[in-house]
Amino acid sequence: MKKWIAILLSASMLAAMLAGCGGDTQRENGGGRELAAEQIYRTLYSSESSTLNYLYSTTEVDMSTGVNGTMTLYASDHYGILQPNGATSYEVSDDGLTWTFHIREDQRWYDYQGNDMGPVTANDWVAPVYWCVEAANDSGNSDSCFPIKNAEAYYNQTSAVLSGETPATSLTLADVGVHAQDDYTLVFELEHPTPYFLSILEFGCYFATSQACLDEFGERFATDNEYMWYCGPYIMDQFEPQEIHHYVKNENWWNADHVYITEIESKYNAEASTLQPTMFLQGEVSETGVSADLLSEWQNDPEKAKMITTTRVQTNYSYFWGFNFEPRVTDTDHNDEINVKWSIAVNNENFRKSIFHGMDRKRALSVSYPTNADELMINSLVPPAFVANNGRDYTEYGDLAALMKEDFFDEAKAKEYRDKAMEEMRPLLQARGYDFPIEIVTQYNGSSDWGQECMVIKQQLEALLGTDYITVTILNFGSSGFLAGTRRCGNYCMQKLNGGADYMDPETWTFITEPGNNYCFAYDTTEKYEVNTKTAETLAIANEFFAMQDAAKAERLDIDRRYELFADAEAFYINHAMMIPYRCTGGGYTATTLDPFESPASSCGWTYLSYVNQHIYTTAMSQEMFDARLVEWEAERAAASK
């Protein structure tokens, strides 16, 4: 094995040298920095994978092996555009139900030592789907398969068998809508027309897996790097849990020319966040996150100040401040009072609007993101740049377009709504024996940044609207069991909530607001929780919203119309102040010797974990380089998407 690696290394170094000689373009990227002699990516990780089985797992650490070791049919490039990967082209039938992919020929499978194990065929994309719909395999990715015809039905059937009940259907695997017509033609049959199907292909159940490999290893499949095969850009030749993950470049990958990093060495350390900055300064790791506390330290040192950059904004995760429409606070000594008063307040639209317009979101964001709060703040639940149709971003559709240009923070308006709310609510409160101020209970999970954010908001809201109107109570729930103990059981009044996207379509965000959600409970909860304090007015708004969303979901053929309907529904929701959009993810500080604009830029899926197309440079990127590159990259991306 060592000899094999040595040959690989020298070959790739030679290739890199030649490539370096040839391309001036490589020097210009990365902000004008020089390429490092050794293209080895070193990093630390603090959470060990529980398994390498990308079909089973949904956590980032586990998926890294799959992303780098196998192939998806299509993969996002560094502009976020889906490019052919395992497949070379595809066709969609007119009714949108049949997708045919042509598989790239001459691809081979290798084991962890680099031995050839056979060709990659169309069946290698049928096998993973079959594995995931089998309930006994307990795959976390099975719901990504459900757009395929009969996939969900088959899954439910096998689940029933598992729990000892008699299933309602008697399907076989052949009934599930994915077949290999021949060695290089793959056909998917879908339940409904799904225009965004291509983006779902970046998820776990669509990573190539050889049936022969599954047969050989059976239950041990992918429990270790020795029990899986590789056809992607990298081969994992070493896996020692709690010690190291080591990848080496696969020279026979079809796009190996664009793989510049020849070795990836990822070492485990439970104290990674404490040690990584020091190790970065000593050159032992290729990049490190910089915490807010370290940030001010480094900014005061002229040498280190040149090494810090912000990270790119990412659109696959969104944060918002949610109002709890079914308050069941349990963590104070006067819960009944809080719950009753809050249920009166939250159902009053003027109250919600006073908070909506009174919260200075930028100031709160500046706590953790002093320099780039503007980039992170969003005015909708679905972040801008998440998905676009023919170059037109989703947030430019329908009523959302106007919303995006607004600045919600308006002190005069806030006070106006406050006065109206006080008038309307006072009799209701007094009828129950209470009076102003309304106590707003918000919880956080012990992270000091979050706590600080809450405090800034508390201070600001109370100063603006007056403590005879509202007071904010901040509770520290601690990190263990946080979501279960606060959001999912309604143990809060207003809280910073978040959710992530699963595929590139606005429908993926509806799990947050749809009936039956465990976020804000803005639906008739009588059946589920035996209590419902929402007024008819609120329920009317909610039901109208659900109707608008259902109409949007039903529209599957005309994408423009679909996006418009979704955008209208979302704008409706936000205009009634049912939630306060806040920010998307990313934006933290880092010191890196890579160029973040070379890495895949998919808005969802796992491709962002890939190391294709990236270089290691000798020095760290500075903020000026970053800003310059950002402008460059956006221009290039706009050009490429036309």
Binding site: D293, E297, G446, G451, Q452, M455, L475, F477
Partner: protein, 368 residues
Amino acid sequence: MSRFSVKEGRANKLEEALLEQLEQTAEERDELTEEEIGALAPEEFETVPYNAERAERIGYSNYSYWRSTLRMFLKNRLAVAMLIAIVLLMGFAIIQPYLPGQGTRGLTEGVLPAQGPKNAIRIYNWPVGTKDAGMPMKNQRPSGEFWFGTNAIGQDLWSMIWSGTRTSLIIGFAVALIEAVVGTFTGLLWGYIRKLDFFFTELYNVLNNIPTTIVLILCTYVMRASIPTLILAMSLTGWMGLARFIRNQVLMIRDRDFNLASRCLGTPTDRIIVKNLIPQMVSVIMLRMALAVPGAIGWEVFLSYIGLGLSVDTPSLGNLVNTGRAMISAPRLRYQLVFPAVILSVITICFYLVGNAFADAADPRNHL
């Protein structure tokens, strides 16, 4: 049997010499002869009447257990110094919030971080007119204004540390007290009542063999970490050791001859316990109590390290040390680790030394 054979080398000679001396003194005994006795005058003698009380009096040494203990303890000057240090420290920790100038310091008042603990530490914001007006004064080094500096949220580290000391000491003392009370009581029962012996021995074996780490982690994971939860979790594991020791002592002592004698004389059981047993056990009980306090703080540091400790708005020495650890890569911010670590070390050292000194002093064998 060579150089050290006492018999051959010395004893024989010694024996002979002693015998000679004995004979000599016997000859020189100063005794009165019969005539001399008769020549004595009766007036030189006084008759002593019969006094029932004084007839009962027997010789005894003027030994008081507690006084000897105190005397031995005071002889150890280092321990006394440490004891004074602890008392001062604890006293200061209690009085500190009420001292003048500990409140707002005349700066723009910040915001109370959480409405849970009533004595939450304020956050200080930059006053109006400064560069970051309204934002918290994060990570300020120690200065005239903030004697220990501020932490990452803008809270005064001086107040945080004293509040943390209070919390940690409360937990420590509570654990020590519970251990002592429950342990002694159980141990006495265990030793006296033979029928319970098997049950308690099994219980002891079970509890002793479950590693403390598991019990602590499970407890704090299932019930959220708070001061009562921590006290409960730490007490669960400590009392068994003391109970076992007490039980051993009880077993040994009830069969000793002097106890047998006391029982024959009709001494009630509780007097036996108080006068005979307790002095032997007090030294160990006090030692364990003294060591339980730094022990509890140590467990707390461990729990904070693995993320299951008290939440950050209830300051305690454990989570102050843990928060400070994250600052270690920035030399300017290391004071956030140094101060809590120093206070923690001082407390541990003091309790440890005082506990050991008291244990030595209370051991009856040292009362020479």
